[in-house]
Protein backbone atom coordinates (compact mmCIF):
# COMPACT_ATOMS: atom_id res chain seq x y z
CA UNK A 1 0.00 0.00 0.00
CA UNK A 2 1.48 3.27 -1.11
CA UNK A 3 0.65 6.18 1.13
CA UNK A 4 -0.39 9.48 -0.34
CA UNK A 5 2.65 11.21 1.08
CA UNK A 6 5.00 8.77 -0.62
CA UNK A 7 3.18 9.13 -3.94
CA UNK A 8 3.42 12.92 -3.70
CA UNK A 9 7.11 12.71 -2.84
CA UNK A 10 7.82 10.37 -5.78
CA UNK A 11 5.95 12.52 -8.30
CA UNK A 12 7.45 15.79 -7.07
CA UNK A 13 11.02 14.50 -6.95
CA UNK A 14 10.71 12.93 -10.41
CA UNK A 15 9.42 16.25 -11.76
CA UNK A 16 12.28 18.12 -10.10
CA UNK A 17 14.95 15.81 -11.49
CA UNK A 18 13.45 15.70 -14.98
CA UNK A 19 13.29 19.51 -15.00
CA UNK A 20 17.00 19.60 -14.23
CA UNK A 21 17.88 16.99 -16.88
CA UNK A 22 15.74 18.83 -19.44
CA UNK A 23 17.63 22.02 -18.55
CA UNK A 24 20.91 20.35 -19.48
CA UNK A 25 19.70 18.92 -22.79
CA UNK A 26 17.50 21.61 -24.33
CA UNK A 27 19.30 23.78 -26.91
CA UNK A 28 17.41 27.07 -26.68
CA UNK A 29 18.36 29.17 -23.70
CA UNK A 30 14.83 30.38 -22.99
CA UNK A 31 13.59 26.78 -22.88
CA UNK A 32 16.30 26.00 -20.33
CA UNK A 33 14.85 28.68 -18.04
CA UNK A 34 11.29 27.42 -18.51
CA UNK A 35 12.30 23.84 -17.66
CA UNK A 36 14.04 25.13 -14.55
CA UNK A 37 10.76 26.70 -13.39
CA UNK A 38 9.40 23.12 -13.31
CA UNK A 39 12.14 22.21 -10.85
CA UNK A 40 11.54 25.27 -8.68
CA UNK A 41 7.78 24.68 -8.47
CA UNK A 42 8.19 21.01 -7.55
CA UNK A 43 10.71 21.97 -4.85
CA UNK A 44 8.00 24.28 -3.47
CA UNK A 45 5.70 21.24 -3.36
CA UNK A 46 8.35 19.33 -1.43
CA UNK A 47 8.52 22.18 1.09
CA UNK A 48 4.79 21.76 1.67
CA UNK A 49 5.41 18.04 2.28
CA UNK A 50 8.03 19.07 4.84
CA UNK A 51 5.44 21.28 6.62
CA UNK A 52 7.16 24.51 5.61
CA UNK A 53 4.26 26.34 3.98
CA UNK A 54 5.74 29.82 4.30
CA UNK A 55 9.00 28.79 2.63
CA UNK A 56 7.00 27.13 -0.16
CA UNK A 57 5.19 30.38 -0.93
CA UNK A 58 8.43 32.34 -0.73
CA UNK A 59 10.03 29.82 -3.10
CA UNK A 60 7.31 30.29 -5.71
CA UNK A 61 7.40 34.10 -5.34
CA UNK A 62 11.18 34.53 -5.42
CA UNK A 63 12.43 31.72 -7.64
CA UNK A 64 9.66 30.96 -10.12
CA UNK A 65 8.68 34.63 -10.20
CA UNK A 66 11.46 37.08 -9.58
CA UNK A 67 14.69 35.26 -10.37
CA UNK A 68 13.37 33.63 -13.55
CA UNK A 69 12.12 36.99 -14.85
CA UNK A 70 15.44 38.65 -13.96
CA UNK A 71 17.35 35.93 -15.81
CA UNK A 72 15.00 36.24 -18.82
CA UNK A 73 15.83 39.96 -18.90
CA UNK A 74 19.50 39.04 -18.71
CA UNK A 75 19.17 36.76 -21.73
CA UNK A 76 17.05 39.14 -23.77
CA UNK A 77 19.29 42.16 -23.16
CA UNK A 78 22.55 40.43 -24.02
CA UNK A 79 22.11 37.67 -26.53
CA UNK A 80 22.46 37.91 -30.27
CA UNK A 81 21.79 34.31 -31.30
CA UNK A 82 18.97 32.22 -29.92
CA UNK A 83 20.91 28.98 -29.73
CA UNK A 84 23.34 27.99 -27.05
CA UNK A 85 26.77 27.91 -28.70
CA UNK A 86 28.47 24.52 -28.80
CA UNK A 87 29.97 24.17 -25.36
CA UNK A 88 33.29 22.73 -24.28
CA UNK A 89 34.86 19.72 -25.98
CA UNK A 90 33.95 16.09 -25.39
CA UNK A 91 37.03 15.44 -23.27
CA UNK A 92 36.29 18.27 -20.85
CA UNK A 93 32.62 17.26 -20.68
CA UNK A 94 33.58 13.66 -19.93
CA UNK A 95 36.04 14.72 -17.24
CA UNK A 96 33.48 16.99 -15.57
CA UNK A 97 30.83 14.26 -15.74
CA UNK A 98 33.20 11.69 -14.23
CA UNK A 99 34.24 13.92 -11.36
CA UNK A 100 30.64 14.92 -10.65
CA UNK A 101 29.66 11.25 -10.64
CA UNK A 102 32.48 10.41 -8.23
CA UNK A 103 31.35 13.25 -5.95
CA UNK A 104 27.75 11.98 -6.11
CA UNK A 105 28.74 8.39 -5.28
CA UNK A 106 30.90 9.46 -2.32
CA UNK A 107 28.15 11.65 -0.88
CA UNK A 108 25.55 8.91 -1.51
CA UNK A 109 27.59 6.39 0.48
CA UNK A 110 27.64 8.93 3.28
CA UNK A 111 23.93 9.68 3.42
CA UNK A 112 21.86 6.81 2.08
CA UNK A 113 21.26 5.19 5.44
CA UNK A 114 21.26 8.35 7.52
CA UNK A 115 18.22 8.61 9.74
CA UNK A 116 18.18 10.87 12.76
CA UNK A 117 15.18 10.20 14.90
CA UNK A 118 14.57 13.40 16.73
CA UNK A 119 11.48 14.40 18.66
CA UNK A 120 8.99 15.65 16.09
CA UNK A 121 8.24 19.33 16.48
CA UNK A 122 4.87 20.87 15.67
CA UNK A 123 6.18 22.91 12.76
CA UNK A 124 2.92 22.94 10.82
CA UNK A 125 0.89 24.73 13.51
CA UNK A 126 1.02 28.48 12.80
CA UNK A 127 4.09 28.05 10.64
CA UNK A 128 4.38 31.72 9.69
CA UNK A 129 3.89 32.87 13.27
CA UNK A 130 6.62 30.53 14.49
CA UNK A 131 9.02 31.83 11.84
CA UNK A 132 8.19 35.42 12.77
CA UNK A 133 8.76 34.81 16.48
CA UNK A 134 12.08 33.04 15.84
CA UNK A 135 13.18 35.75 13.38
CA UNK A 136 12.45 38.69 15.69
CA UNK A 137 13.63 37.15 18.96
CA UNK A 138 16.51 34.76 18.33
CA UNK A 139 17.80 35.92 14.94
CA UNK A 140 17.19 39.66 15.08
CA UNK A 141 20.81 40.69 14.37
CA UNK A 142 21.18 38.51 11.22
CA UNK A 143 17.79 39.85 10.10
CA UNK A 144 18.93 43.46 10.38
CA UNK A 145 22.25 42.64 8.71
CA UNK A 146 20.30 41.06 5.84
CA UNK A 147 18.51 44.36 5.24
CA UNK A 148 21.86 46.18 5.08
CA UNK A 149 23.16 43.54 2.68
CA UNK A 150 20.12 43.87 0.42
CA UNK A 151 20.59 47.65 0.33
CA UNK A 152 24.27 47.24 -0.53
CA UNK A 153 23.43 44.72 -3.29
CA UNK A 154 20.78 47.08 -4.69
CA UNK A 155 23.13 50.08 -4.87
CA UNK A 156 25.97 47.93 -6.17
CA UNK A 157 23.80 46.45 -8.93
CA UNK A 158 22.62 49.91 -10.03
CA UNK A 159 26.16 51.30 -10.13
CA UNK A 160 27.54 48.27 -11.98
CA UNK A 161 24.80 48.18 -14.60
CA UNK A 162 24.76 51.96 -15.15
CA UNK A 163 26.31 53.23 -18.38
CA UNK A 164 29.75 54.76 -17.92
CA UNK A 165 29.08 58.33 -19.11
CA UNK A 166 32.67 59.64 -19.07
CA UNK A 167 34.00 56.74 -21.09
CA UNK A 168 31.26 57.18 -23.68
CA UNK A 169 32.20 60.82 -24.18
CA UNK A 170 35.87 60.01 -24.59
CA UNK A 171 35.46 57.37 -27.24
Amino acid sequence: MISGEFAAFAILSLTAISGGILMLNVTKVVHMLISLVLTFVSIAGLYILLTAEFIAVVQILIYSGAITIIMLFGIMLTRKTDEEEPSAGRLKKGLVFASTAVFAVVMYIGIYRLDLNGDPAALHEDNTEQIGIALFSKHIIPFELTSVLLLAALIGAIILAKKDEEKEEQS
Binding site: M23, V29, Y47, S87, L114, P120, N127, I131
Partner: protein, 104 residues
Protein backbone atom coordinates in the same frame (compact mmCIF):
# COMPACT_ATOMS: atom_id res chain seq x y z
CA UNK B 1 5.07 11.11 11.75
CA UNK B 2 6.47 11.29 8.26
CA UNK B 3 6.64 8.13 6.18
CA UNK B 4 9.53 9.40 4.05
CA UNK B 5 12.96 9.04 5.64
CA UNK B 6 15.42 11.89 5.86
CA UNK B 7 17.75 10.16 3.42
CA UNK B 8 15.13 10.42 0.66
CA UNK B 9 15.24 14.20 0.75
CA UNK B 10 19.03 14.21 1.10
CA UNK B 11 19.49 11.99 -1.98
CA UNK B 12 17.11 14.16 -4.02
CA UNK B 13 19.05 17.28 -2.98
CA UNK B 14 22.31 15.52 -3.91
CA UNK B 15 21.01 14.72 -7.40
CA UNK B 16 19.82 18.31 -7.94
CA UNK B 17 23.15 19.66 -6.67
CA UNK B 18 25.07 17.40 -9.07
CA UNK B 19 22.91 18.50 -12.03
CA UNK B 20 23.59 22.12 -11.12
CA UNK B 21 27.33 21.47 -10.68
CA UNK B 22 27.61 19.72 -14.06
CA UNK B 23 25.71 22.53 -15.79
CA UNK B 24 27.77 25.26 -14.12
CA UNK B 25 31.02 23.60 -15.21
CA UNK B 26 30.11 22.78 -18.82
CA UNK B 27 27.77 25.53 -20.11
CA UNK B 28 29.29 28.53 -21.85
CA UNK B 29 26.43 31.01 -21.49
CA UNK B 30 27.00 33.09 -18.35
CA UNK B 31 23.28 33.44 -17.58
CA UNK B 32 22.91 29.67 -17.62
CA UNK B 33 25.89 29.31 -15.29
CA UNK B 34 24.19 31.72 -12.84
CA UNK B 35 20.93 29.74 -13.12
CA UNK B 36 22.78 26.50 -12.38
CA UNK B 37 24.17 28.12 -9.23
CA UNK B 38 20.60 28.94 -8.21
CA UNK B 39 19.75 25.26 -8.66
CA UNK B 40 22.63 24.28 -6.34
CA UNK B 41 21.45 26.81 -3.74
CA UNK B 42 17.97 25.31 -4.01
CA UNK B 43 19.35 21.87 -3.22
CA UNK B 44 21.00 23.29 -0.10
CA UNK B 45 17.74 24.96 0.96
CA UNK B 46 15.94 21.62 0.56
CA UNK B 47 18.50 20.07 2.92
CA UNK B 48 18.00 22.85 5.47
CA UNK B 49 14.21 22.45 5.48
CA UNK B 50 14.48 18.65 5.62
CA UNK B 51 16.77 18.87 8.65
CA UNK B 52 14.40 21.34 10.25
CA UNK B 53 11.69 18.66 10.24
CA UNK B 54 13.54 15.32 10.35
CA UNK B 55 16.90 16.20 11.87
CA UNK B 56 18.27 15.26 15.29
CA UNK B 57 16.73 18.30 16.98
CA UNK B 58 13.78 19.48 14.88
CA UNK B 59 13.06 23.17 15.25
CA UNK B 60 12.00 26.19 13.21
CA UNK B 61 15.61 27.42 12.93
CA UNK B 62 16.25 25.43 9.76
CA UNK B 63 13.40 27.21 8.01
CA UNK B 64 14.64 30.61 9.18
CA UNK B 65 18.09 29.80 7.81
CA UNK B 66 16.53 28.72 4.50
CA UNK B 67 14.86 32.14 4.33
CA UNK B 68 18.22 33.86 4.89
CA UNK B 69 19.79 31.71 2.19
CA UNK B 70 16.99 32.61 -0.29
CA UNK B 71 17.64 36.30 0.45
CA UNK B 72 21.36 35.94 -0.22
CA UNK B 73 20.61 34.03 -3.43
CA UNK B 74 18.36 36.85 -4.67
CA UNK B 75 21.03 39.46 -3.91
CA UNK B 76 23.61 37.29 -5.67
CA UNK B 77 21.43 37.01 -8.78
CA UNK B 78 20.98 40.80 -8.95
CA UNK B 79 24.69 41.60 -8.52
CA UNK B 80 25.72 38.77 -10.85
CA UNK B 81 23.49 40.07 -13.64
CA UNK B 82 24.76 43.63 -13.11
CA UNK B 83 28.35 42.40 -13.47
CA UNK B 84 27.27 40.45 -16.57
CA UNK B 85 25.83 43.62 -18.15
CA UNK B 86 29.00 45.59 -17.39
CA UNK B 87 31.15 42.83 -18.90
CA UNK B 88 28.88 42.52 -21.94
CA UNK B 89 29.19 46.25 -22.61
CA UNK B 90 32.98 46.01 -22.62
CA UNK B 91 33.47 42.62 -24.27
CA UNK B 92 30.37 42.21 -26.50
CA UNK B 93 30.18 38.56 -25.46
CA UNK B 94 28.47 36.49 -22.77
CA UNK B 95 30.52 33.29 -23.12
CA UNK B 96 32.35 32.53 -19.88
CA UNK B 97 35.61 31.57 -21.60
CA UNK B 98 35.87 35.00 -23.27
CA UNK B 99 36.28 36.62 -19.87
CA UNK B 100 39.97 35.89 -19.57
CA UNK B 101 41.55 39.35 -19.27
CA UNK B 102 42.77 38.55 -15.73
CA UNK B 103 44.71 35.55 -17.06
CA UNK B 104 48.42 35.91 -16.55
Amino acid sequence: MSSIPLSGYLVLALILFCIGLYGALTKRNTVIVLICMELMLNAVNLNLVAFSKLGAAPSITGQVFALFSITIAAAEAAVGLAILFALYRNRKSIAVDDYDSMKH
